[in-house]
Structure formats: structure tokens, C-alpha cells
Amino acid sequence: MKETENRSASVPAAAPIIEVNSMHKWYGEFHVLSDINLQVKLKERIVICGPSGSGKSTLIRCINRLEEHQRGQIIVNGTELSNDIKNIEKVRAEVGMVFQHFNLFPHLSILDNLTLGPIWVRKTPKKEAEEMAMAYLDKVHIAEQADKFPGQLSGGQQQRVAIARSLCMKPKVMLFDEPTSALDPEMIKEVLDVMIELAEEGMTMLVVTHEMGFAKSVADRVMFMDYGQIVEQNTPAEFFDNPRHERTKLFLSQIL
């Protein structure tokens, strides 16, 4: 693993691509996210960790409106997320998501899985979409499986296809919701390698994961959440070596 280095100098100082201001979310009576304030700049890589039930998946799902927030503001790429479906679709076209359970479309071939979004959302012509899809499949090192179906691939292969599928929409931000939690240890590495390559090419990423090695080597910021609040966030070096809150220390002692 590479040594952590202070990367804040390489991140351009521009308007944040994601802004979350005083966001609260309830599931019925349960206050699942409390006073979330978050700014993500372009090309930033943020790893979110925390115990289960802490709301980390819920937070990133609010960013592409798979979940709704009840109070506060979420602004993505200049568009505020509200009940207006047009805004939601605009945001979703710029935000890619990779799920824990891959969620590939089993009735379509791998190639069709990738070209579905570009053809129907971006109105790309079929030929062009297929060429782009093959290029991204090549990028995640899985081009030879293009005509197979998801059921015929292993977990690691499916997750890489899922990453390629999101990339085909050329998003500005990629959200990863525990991408390796459903994988065997051998397959985790192949997926993490793809994510590291993506990060090094400058993709803005929010990653919910328990893979602390990934956090140390790639993240610009590591965020710890507990009981619906952001407890602590810092550069990897500071986060792992000098945790400030008791809860963070407890969590780190359990997972490292």
C-alpha cells in the first residue's frame, strides 16, 4: 500500500460539486440522519466508515435521491434536490452509483447492461454506445465477457461490470455503497484495484466501505459516522493516527 500523503494541495479549489447543508432525515419517527454538513469538491475522494446503522449508506443514497431528506439542502452540480422529478433526473445523470449487491439487469447481456443508460437517457446512437461500452469494459479488464449474462459471471466480475455501467454515463461523481462487502476476499482485490485506478484518474468518489487499506491509500478525507451524525472527518494520516473522538477511537480499535 502506498504511504498516505497530504493530498489537499492537489485538489483544485473550486465550487463544491456536492453540498449538503444541515440535512436531517427521518424514517417515520426515527431520526436517522442528524444535521449533516458536507462539502465535496471535484476530484475529491471521500471514504465514509462507521458501525452498521450509522446512516452512512442512507447519506449517500440521499445524494442521488434514492432516499428523500426532510430538512436541509442537498445541492449536486448546482441542482438542488427536491421533489421536482426533472431535477432528480438531472442529478442522477451526473451521479453514478455502485451497489453492494451489484444490481445488474439479469435479462440483458453485459453489453446491453452498459448501453441501456447511454442509449435511453443520453440518446446516444447504438453503435457509438456499444463502442464506448466496450472501451469501458476493457478498462475494467472484462471485455471478453461482453456477450455473457450477469448470471454467468462471478461476484467480482459482476461488480466490475457494475462500475463500468455507471462509468458509461460519464458521471461527475461516483457513489459506492459497500462495493466489496458481498465479495470473497480474492475478488475484493480486483474490484478495489479498479476503484484505485478510477481514483487516480481523478474521479470524484464517495465510498462507504470497511476496507481501511483503500482508505489509507486513496482517500483525501476519511469520515466517521455514528448514530446518524458525522463524528469526525480528517485526512487519512490524521484520522488513523490521531483520532480525536472517543467513539472514533473505539471504532478504529475494533476494526484495525
Binding site: M97, F99, H107, G117, W120, V121, F149
Partner: protein
């Protein structure tokens, strides 16, 4: 380390006769316990009592194409009721000289159906071919041009009526049912309520009462002098009825879809129509092929209920044949013929659905 001399000196006996081959199967399945053996003996006795007499009644002592009087002299089945009345059974009240028209129309329909079975023919042109085919069939049935005399829809009867009500019923009810299922799952209260009311009201009444309503009640609400074709009313009743049942079955399929599929489609930016059309419905409809086919088969057989509003489908025309004093008393033969006819059609549909399921399984 095996000693060859030891291996060859071992005696390789044959298994006992009652354990292998036919005897083995009989012993293992029919006579394995005392109650199974008893049941086997009882059933064999029953079959012995029933099958040979039926066989000799149906095939040995029977006549197949004789005048009605000859039937009275024999003990066996009088199958001649069918060939002697075939043109009425199949074509009903269609004028005698013109019966080649419905015959040709049915032939064309079957031809189109067989052509459409092959998935290699599922291109955009198939829709055009069907449209042309339907126009030709309508012209053949109704007449009015090319010197063919007009035959009003009220005289359309027999097999063409059954096939028409069944085919258009199935083809129209399915998309309507899918829309109702989607509407029932919608978040918009007005649409959801309307769909629920429709489905529950239609499911709450028998098809017969819907046919009565279409035939007797509905015309009362129409302004003076305006009539809507009776066959059309029956057709609409069958479509509305079948659609309600298809809706519930499709809703079951939609409920079985994992949420992740919706979320993946949403996160790609697909809108509602695209998500349903490209991702959810192809998977959901595939899952519910078995119960959907069951409903469509019921719809096919339910066409016989139009007898209640004086439309003469193939069941009714057969019954009318029996009311002829010459042929009364041979109802067994007539109904066996009808049963075979319905069975052939339904079995063809259900074996096609099995083939469809096998084909669509590729990739899953």
C-alpha cells in the same frame, strides 16, 4: 493394492429379479407397501371394468359417418353426429353457400398464429402482417365487396366466433391488465383508487353477469336509436373481465422484483416509463407466465358463456345440433367431440407457453 486373482475369483451375482427392470419398478412403486399394493389392485380392477367397455363403445361398435337412422341399430358410439352436422357445428348460421369464407378466415388466423410462434419472425413487420391479415379476415367475414354478400355480425357463429372472442380477448386484455397492475401500484391516489375499484368490482362478479349487463343493461343507457354491435359488447365484456385477473397476476410478478433493480435503473437516470419497459416488465412478466397462461386458457373456454346472450359459439351450435330430433340422445358423442376440440386448442397454447419459458430462460 488389488490382487487380480482375488478380483476374478469373486462371484458376481445377478441382482434379484424383483429389484430390476420392469418387475423392479412395479415392486418399488406399485407394490412397495401393503396399502399401495391394495390400491394398485383396486385401481386395476376399476380400469378393467371401465376401459374395455369404453374402448368397444367408442371404437369397435361405433359408426363414424352414417345417417341418423343407422345409429339406432348399434350399441356403440354414433360419431356420425359430428360429420353429418359439421358445417353447422363449425360455422353456425353463416349462409350455406358462403361458408368457405369463415373457413378461409380460420385458416388464415391459424396460419398467422403459427407464423408468429417462431421467435425469428418477431420483427416490426409482424405487426403489419397481422394488421393486413385481420383486415382480410374482417372482409371475408363481413363481406360487402368483391361480390360477397354481407353477413351481419349477429350471424357470425361457431368456431370463428369462439376464436375471434378468444383471440381479441386475450390480446387486448393482457396490455390492459398490465396497465391496471402498474396503476394499482402507483403512488398517485386517484389512479390507484380507480384501478383498485375496477379490479375488485370486476373480480367480484361472474363473467355471466358481465355478459348480461353488456347485453341487456348497457343498451338501456344508450340514446334512442343508437345500438352497439352485440358481438362487440360481448367482446368488451370478455376483455374487461380477463384484464382484471391478469392485473393481479402481473402485480404479483411486480412485487417479486427486487428493489435493487428499481434502484439501479433509477440511478442510471431512467424515467418511469423506461424503467418499466426496459428493466422491470421484461423480468416480471417472464416470472408470471404460468399463471398468466392459466388465465388466458380460462378466457378461451369462457367464450362458451356467450350462449347466455344468444350468441352462438361452437358450444352452442353443438347443443343446437342435439336439439334436432334426429340426433337427440347422442349428447355423449357431441360433448366428447367438444372436449377434444377445446383440449387440442388449450394444450397447444399451454405447450407453447412451456416452449416460451424455455426460450426466455436463456441468460438467467
Amino acid at each position: 493394492m488389488s490382487d487380480p486373482s482375488r478380483a476374478s475369483s469373486r462371484e458376481y451375482l445377478k441382482p434379484p429379479l424383483t429389484e430390476v427392470g420392469v418387475l423392479g419398478w412395479l415392486h418399488g412403486n406399485l407394490f412397495n407397501t401393503w396399502y399401495n399394493a391394495l390400491l394398485t389392485v383396486v385401481i386395476l380392477l376399476l380400469l378393467w371394468q371401465l376401459v374395455p367397455p369404453f374402448f368397444s363403445w367408442a371404437f369397435i361398435d361405433s359408426v363414424w359417418n352414417s345417417p341418423a337412422e343407422a345409429c339406432r341399430d348399434i350399441d356403440g358410439a354414433c360419431w356420425s353426429i359430428i360429420p353429418r352436422n359439421i358445417s353447422f357445428i363449425l360455422f353456425g348460421f353463416f349462409p350455406d353457400g358462403e361458408q368457405w369464407r369463415p373457413g378461409l378466415a380460420i385458416g388464415l388466423l391459424l396460419g398467422l398464429v403459427f407464423y408468429s410462434k417462431d421467435s425469428r419472425h418477431w420483427k416490426k413487420s409482424l405487426g403489419g402482417i397481422w394488421l393486413v391479415g385481420l383486415l382480410v379476415m374482417a372482409t371475408l367475414m363481413y363481406g360487402g365487396i368483391f361480390g360477397m354478400p354481407v353477413v351481419e355480425t349477429a350471424r357470425w357463429s361457431g368456431l370463428p366466433l369462439t376464436f375471434m372472442l378468444a383471440l381479441f380477448g386475450m390480446v387486448a386484455a393482457y396490455p390492459l391488465g398490465v396497465l391496471l397492475a402498474l396503476g394499482r401500484r402507483s403512488n398517485m391516489p386517484a389512479i390507484k383508487t380507480l384501478c383498485v375499484i375496477y379490479i375488485e368490482m370486476i373480480r367480484g362478479v361472474p363473467l355471466i353477469s358481465l355478459l348480461f349487463m353488456s347485453s341487456i343493461l348497457f343498451p338501456l343507457f344508450l340514446p334512442e336509436g343508437i345500438t352497439i354491435d352485440k358481438v362487440l359488447r360481448a367482446q368488451v365484456a370478455i376483455i374487461m373481465f380477463t384484464a382484471a385477473y391478469i392485473a393481479e397476476v402481473v402485480r404479483g410478478g411486480l412485487q417479486a422484483m427486487p428493489r435493487g433493480q428499481f434502484e439501479a435503473a433509477d440511478s442510471l437516470g431512467l424515467n418511469y416509463n423506461q424503467t418499466m419497459r426496459l428493466v422491470i416488465l421484461p423480468q416480471a412478466l417472464k416470472i408470471v407466465i404460468p399463471p398468466s397462461v392459466g388465465i388466458l386458457l380460462s378466457a378461451f373456454k369462457d367464450t362458451s358463456l356467450v350462449v347466455i346472450i344468444a350468441l352462438y359459439d361452437v358450444l352452442k351450435t353443438t347443443k343446437v345440433t342435439l336439439s334436432n330430433p334426429k340426433w337427440t340422445g347422442y349428447s355423449t358423442e357431441a360433448y366428447i367431440f367438444l372436449a377434444v376440440l377445446y383440449f387440442v386448442c388449450c394444450y397447444a397454447m399451454s405447450s407453447y407457453s412451456r416452449k416460451l419459458e424455455r426460450t426466455l430462460h436463456t441468460g438467467r
